[in-house]
């Protein structure tokens, strides 16, 4: 049984500039440490090699330290063979990058700068390196190349298998490429979530999450191939340090937003390593919304990062809310004016939102002053 660890889209050096504080540095560090975790996972799973299906580096010309640290980590895991495929972020057009790697490459690293098959002891890897950021054609035709019939064939490619444009994209990788080219396994990169395309074709996803786009824990794939023609055994292996979690709360009037939130949040022990994005929708009364905001405020600092977007959360007209502001008098009157404005369809959405925000603010201030 030949075993290999399939991963991709490491995006080393990705800066995460939109986060404040230390977080960008921590996230970058987590990506770097993913190399070590991948090596651990490979050893634990009995794999002899790790194939990286593209986008190992985020930039075409990464900072020298980014590159050097990566090569050091690979060199350190010298009990494993590493195969790096140029992806779209680090395509062959990034000549300086590949030149520097060629100059400093440790012996256990093979860089697939051309489609020549790479022998990995018990298997042959057929790479289809990306020639440019957008090559505009399917490069996996090269995977047809003949190899030693006694060894399993593992394809390594980077790109999309499907898209949603009507004309059809000539750069797409055919979903049945593994079958067409007689591959025992096709290791794909580009998609940051893990995805099975067929019994022999998988996207491993990134080993360290970098966006809220994909659900599920970041992982690599441990691929075991018994011999040529055998269906591979695929085992996901969790490798992520940080959780990127998108939470959507659909709230109805009368619901306890705080309780729903508490249920949706991860346990306290995980929160420090969690980046959470909350999107609330539906409608809540001002009081309930205030309670939800208070709950958010209380939970916020538990997390590595926390973003709450309540802009899609509508306002439920509740008399108690107005009573909380004031039962009569000028405050009540101001509240009612704003309320009417927030629900006035004759006004622009922006004006309505301003009025809604003003009303929420009034509610908060008035209840504080109560």
């Amino acid at each position: 049984m030949f075993r290999v660890l399939h991963t991709s889209d490491l995006h080393l050096g990705k800066p995460f500039g939109r986060f404040g504080g230390d977080l960008p540095a921590l996230l970058r560090e987590a990506r770097y440490q993913a190399l070590g975790r991948l090596a651990e996972a490979a050893r634990a799973g009995g794999a002899q090699a790790i194939v990286l299906a593209g986008d190992t580096f985020d930039a075409e010309t990464p900072a020298p330290a980014t590159l050097r640290h990566a090569l050091q980590a690979i060199a350190e895991a010298d009990d494993l063979s590493w195969v790096i495929l140029p992806g779209n972020h680090d395509s062959l057009a990034a000549s300086d990058l590949w030149r520097r790697i060629a100059a400093e490459r440790p012996a256990n690293l093979h860089v697939a700068l051309d489609p020549a098959p790479v022998a990995l002891g018990g298997a042959v890897v057929l790479p289809a390196p990306c020639t440019a950021r957008r090559p505009g054609r399917d490069l996996t035709g090269a995977l047809d190349a003949e190899t030693d019939p006694g060894l399993p064939r593992i394809g390594l490619a980077h790109g999309a298998v499907t898209d949603f444009s009507e004309e059809g994209d000539p750069a797409l990788i055919p979903p049945d490429r593994a079958e067409r080219s007689g591959l025992d396994y096709l290791a794909l990169g580009d998609w940051h979530g893990q995805m099975r395309i067929g019994p022999r074709t998988w996207y491993s996803g990134t080993p360290e999450a970098d966006s809220f786009k994909h659900d599920g824990a970041a992982a690599a794939l441990l691929v075991g191939i018994a011999g040529p023609g055998a269906v591979p055994e695929i085992t996901p292996v969790a490798t992520g340090a940080y959780d990127w979690r998108a939470v959507a709360l659909e709230l109805l009037p009368g619901e306890d937003g705080a309780a729903r939130l508490a249920a949706a949040l991860p346990p306290a022990g995980r929160r420090r390593m969690t980046l959470l994005r909350l999107r609330a929708s539906g409608r809540l009364s001002l009081a309930a919304r205030g309670a939800l905001e208070a709950a958010i405020g209380a939970a916020r600092d538990d997390f590595g990062w926390f973003e709450a977007d309540l802009s899609a959360l509508g306002l439920e007209r509740a008399v108690e809310d107005l009573d909380d502001i004031d039962r009569a008098g000028a405050l009540r009157r101001a509240a009612e004016d704003l309320w009417d404005e927030a629900g006035n369809p004759a006004l622009s959405a922006e004006d309505r939102e301003v009025a809604r925000a003003a009303l929420a603010r009034l509610y908060a201030l008035a209840t504080e002053q109560a």
Partner: protein, 882 residues
């Protein structure tokens, strides 16, 4: 509550007395009294009754005590809805308080209980409804003017009373305006907004909104700079790839060999081309030599023919010149003959002319002599006459000299004679005249002279007349002086006349007149002779004599020229001879000129002939011996033929080579191209290597910067900054909107809240100020500003009079409001309106009357006259001893 009666016992100037005002009615009651008559005493006493506890020793109480001391008592009767009550307090030495039912006289409460009873009546103390209505002298403020803690307490209780009142009328102000919560909410809202935005809604400097926007701007600039660097980097990468590919292509062996082979071929072709060009050049040279030879042969033949032709021409010319010489010789001889003939003719003409000239001169001389002889006779006769006249003139002149009386002397004599006559006449007029008339012969004599008959004789001085026969008669004429003067004048005149006559050489007047006549006659004769002489000899007698002498001489030769011809005919002949001579001379001149010309022509013709002969000799010599001519012509023709053949051959040879010549320009170009290709490939390879090196440097620098990572990072930070700025923008908008909503709502609430006060106050105010409005402060619930003609003025800057009026009207308005709320209180004015002028005071009175219909108003004043127009009932003070 209405006040019905008031009694003061032992208060100030009413020491030991009780002063009483009874029967105070509804409406306005005026207590008008001069200063110090107790007016303020009533006010202060009444004030103390309501507001000073009976145990008080406050200054206000002690001020009520008279100098004589003793207990001070004040009592009042008030009418309440429940009935009529008497309130009574005594302070200082006796202390008590009591409330009595006025109808029954029953004591309802005493001391502390009475105080509590009164306290309930005036609830809120000075600040209460009652306190509100007291207006002291000159108070312009709206609040009680107390100081310190008590003053503040009063102020607060007054506010409380107003609040209560207005809450009763319009609702709780806090309920209406949101009160303290509203203030706090608004303040919090404004604080938060001020943190973000300026008053105009722009991001505030130093605030987080501004910081976010600044960060966006800074990051955008940073991103642009990094994007430019990233573009530069990716451009450099692409450039290096292209350069390296090109360099690889240049270095391919096949390419290199192809370039070198092309260069070798081009060089060989060039060498062949150059050899061919050398051959062509030699052929060209031969061709040029053949052409020269042919040209020389042609020239030689042509020269031979030309010399033949020249000899023939020279001979012809020589013959012509000989003929010309002969003709010229003939013409010259003919001209010489003609010249001799004209010379002879001229000599003849000259001789004839000389002869005629001599004859003509002689004839002229003869004619002149004859004319002189004729004239000589005439001139001699005339000379004789002239001489006679000259003699006559000389005679006349002698006569004139002999008669000296000329016209002037005659006139002098005449004048002197006249003078004498007149002198005598004057003398005689003075004399005694005697005229004798004789009868007989006897005559009277005077001094022996007889007097003539009838002739008057003048007598002068003493005269003695002798009367013959009688004796003598002496007559004395008398008048001696005049007689003497006249006689002297006569004598003077006589002497003058005598002198003149003497000078003229005459004896008397008659002689003078005769001499004068003789002289005039002589003068006339002299004049006549002179005139005749002048006509005969106009140039003098001597000239005439000389002329005669000349003529005499000229006429002397007349006889010798007797045979001389007619001078006129001779003159004509002579003129003709002169003409003929001139013609001959002209002809002679022409002949001589013709001869000269012909002589020159002859010389020229001779020279021409000689020259022509010379040229014939030259041409003959040039041609050489005549027997060799044909051989030479033959040789020249053969040479021409040979030369033409050679030329044809050489031309053909040259044309053949030229047609076969390769294009050297092409060969050179091809060689240059091939060489250039090799050189360019080398240079290009060098350039590319340099460029790759340069790009390596740039790429390395950028890579070391990690510009792509930094760009991605800055882009992320920019997105976050954009989000943050947008959040602050929304936040500012929401806070701004909230502030607007709150202030709008509060303004509307206030308007509603103050509506009852304004409804009461504005009609009163309009009595004083047209179109006035009032703004009430919702903290004090009192007027804060007066608006007149659209101009708002805070109350504290108004004039004393206006402030006072507003203060009183506000109290009146509140009094009506209290009344409406079932809490009737009197308005008590203690010398109020001190700042108000007489015009306004009447309008204030009108305002008071307007309120007084339902309101008890008690006015204490010392301005009797001003307040006499207020109307109302007058309070009477009754004073009695205790």
């Amino acid at each position: 509550m209405k006040l019905r009666a008031l009694a003061l016992t032992n208060v100030r100037r009413f020491a030991g007395q009780t002063a009483r005002i009874d029967d105070i009615g509804d409406g306005i009651t005026v207590l008008a009294a001069p200063n110090e008559s107790g007016k303020s005493t009533f006010f202060d006493a009444l004030h103390a009754l309501f507001f000073q506890p009976y145990g008080s020793r406050a200054r206000e109480v002690r001020a009520l005590q008279p100098h004589s001391g003793g207990a001070v008592s004040v009592a009042a009767e008030v009418e309440l809805p429940q009935g009529r009550f008497r309130l009574e307090k005594t302070w200082l030495s006796r202390k008590s308080a009591r409330v009595t039912d006025a109808a029954t006289g029953r004591v309802l409460a005493q001391d502390d209980e009475a105080e509590a009873w009164i306290g309930r009546l005036v609830e809120g103390g000075l600040g209460g409804p009652a306190g509100l209505l007291w207006v002291r002298q000159g108070v312009t403020g709206l609040d009680p003017a107390g100081q310190g803690a008590a003053g503040r307490r009063d102020w607060e209780s007054g506010l409380e009373a107003r609040r209560d009142l207005m809450s009763t009328l319009a609702g709780e102000i806090d309920m209406m305006t949101g009160g303290r919560r509203m203030d706090q909410v608004l303040a919090a809202c404004r604080d938060e907004l001020a943190e973000l935005a300026t008053a105009t809604g722009r991001p505030r400097a130093g605030g987080p909104w501004k910081a976010a926007e600044d960060e966006v701007a800074a990051l955008e600039a940073e991103r642009a700079a990094l994007a430019a660097k990233v573009d530069e980097l990716s451009g450099a990468l692409a450039e290096r790839r292209r350069a390296e590919e090109e360099r690889a292509r240049l270095d391919e062996p096949a390419e290199r060999e192809a370039r070198e082979a092309a260069l070798a071929r081009a060089r060989q072709a060039m060498k062949a081309g150059e050899a061919h060009a050398a051959r062509l050049e030699a052929a060209e040279r031969d061709l040029k030599i053949a052409a020269l030879e042919q040209e020389a042969a042609e020239d030689a033949a042509a020269a031979l023919a030309a010399r033949d032709r020249a000899l023939g021409e020279a001979r012809e010319a020589a013959e012509t010149a000989a003929a010309d010489e002969r003709a010229a010789q003939a013409r010259f001889e003919s001209a010489a003959r003609k010249d001799a003939a004209t010379a002879e003719a001229l000599a003849a003409a000259e001789a004839a002319l000389a002869r005629l000239r001599a004859e003509h001169a002689r004839a002229q001389r003869a004619a002149l002599a004859r004319a002189a002889a004729e004239r000589l006779a005439e001139m001699r006769a005339r000379l004789d006459k002239a001489e006679a006249q000259a003699r006559a003139r000389a005679a006349a002149q002698a006569q004139i000299a002999a008669a000296p009386v000329d016209a002037a002397a005659m006139a002098g004599i005449e004048a002197a004679a006249d003078t004498l006559d007149r002198a005598r006449a004057r003398r005689d007029a003075l004399a005694v005249t005697v005229t004798p008339a004789y009868s007989g012969d006897a005559r009277v004599t005077l001094d022996g002279t007889a007097l003539a008959e009838g002739a008057a004789l003048a007598l002068h001085g003493r005269a003695r007349l002798d009367l013959p026969g009688i004796g003598a008669l002496v007559i004395d004429t008398g008048g001696r002086g005049a007689e003497d003067k006249a006689a002297a004048a006569c004598e003077a005149a006589e002497a003058a006349l005598r002198g003149l006559l003497q000078t003229a050489g005459v004896a008397d007047l008659a002689g003078a007149r005769a001499a004068r006549a003789a002289r005039e006659e002589a003068e006339a004769a002299e004049k006549l002779a002179g005139a005749v002489l002048a006509s005969l000899a106009p140039e003098g007698l001597e000239a005439l004599r000389a002329e005669v002498s000349e003529l005499d001489l000229a006429a002397g030769g007349a006889e010798q020229e007797a045979d001389a011809g007619d001078p006129a005919a001779l003159a004509e002949a002579m003129a003709q001879a002169e003409t003929a001579h001139e013609a001959a001379r002209t002809a002679r001149e022409a002949a001589r000129r013709a001869l000269g010309a012909d002589e020159r022509q002859l010389a020229e013709a001779r020279t021409g002939h000689r020259l022509a002969q010379g040229r014939v000799a030259e041409a003959g010599a040039a041609l050489g011996p005549a027997d060799a001519h044909s051989d030479r012509r033959e040789a020249a023709a053969q040479r021409r033929t040979r030369a033409a053949e050679t030329l044809r051959k050489q031309t053909a040879a040259r044309d053949g080579l030229a047609a076969a010549a390769p294009d050297m320009a092409n060969l050179r170009a091809e060689l240059a191209r091939a060489e250039g290709a090799v050189a360019a490939a080398a240079a290009r390879a060098k350039t590319l290597s340099d460029k790759v090196l340069e790009l390596d440097g740039l790429i390395r620098a950028r890579a070391e910067d990690g510009v792509e990572e930094r760009l991605a990072e800055v882009s992320g930070r920019l997105d976050a900054a954009h989000d943050r700025a947008a959040r602050y923008t929304r936040e500012a908008a929401a806070l701004g909107r909230l502030e607007t909503a709150l202030t709008d709502a509060r303004r509307a609430a206030r308007d509603t809240y103050f509506e009852p006060v304004k409804r009461e106050l504005l009609p009163l105010l309009s009595l004083l100020h047209e179109a006035a409005d009032i703004r009430l402060d919702d903290a004090s619930l009192l007027p804060a500003a007066l608006t007149r003609n659209g101009q708002e003025e805070p109350l504290d800057i108004l004039s004393g009079g206006t402030a006072e009026q507003v203060a009183i009207l506000t109290r009146l308005a509140f009094a009506r409001l209290f009344d409406r709320a079932g809490q009737t209180v009197p308005v008590i004015l203690d010398d109020a309106l001190v700042h108000t002028d007489d015009d306004r005071i009447e309008r204030m009175f009108a305002a008071l009357h307007r309120v007084a219909g339902e309101q008890q108003i008690i006015v204490f004043t010392c301005r009797n006259r001003a307040f006499s127009r207020l109307g109302g009932s007058e309070a009477r003070v009754a004073v009695e001893a205790v």
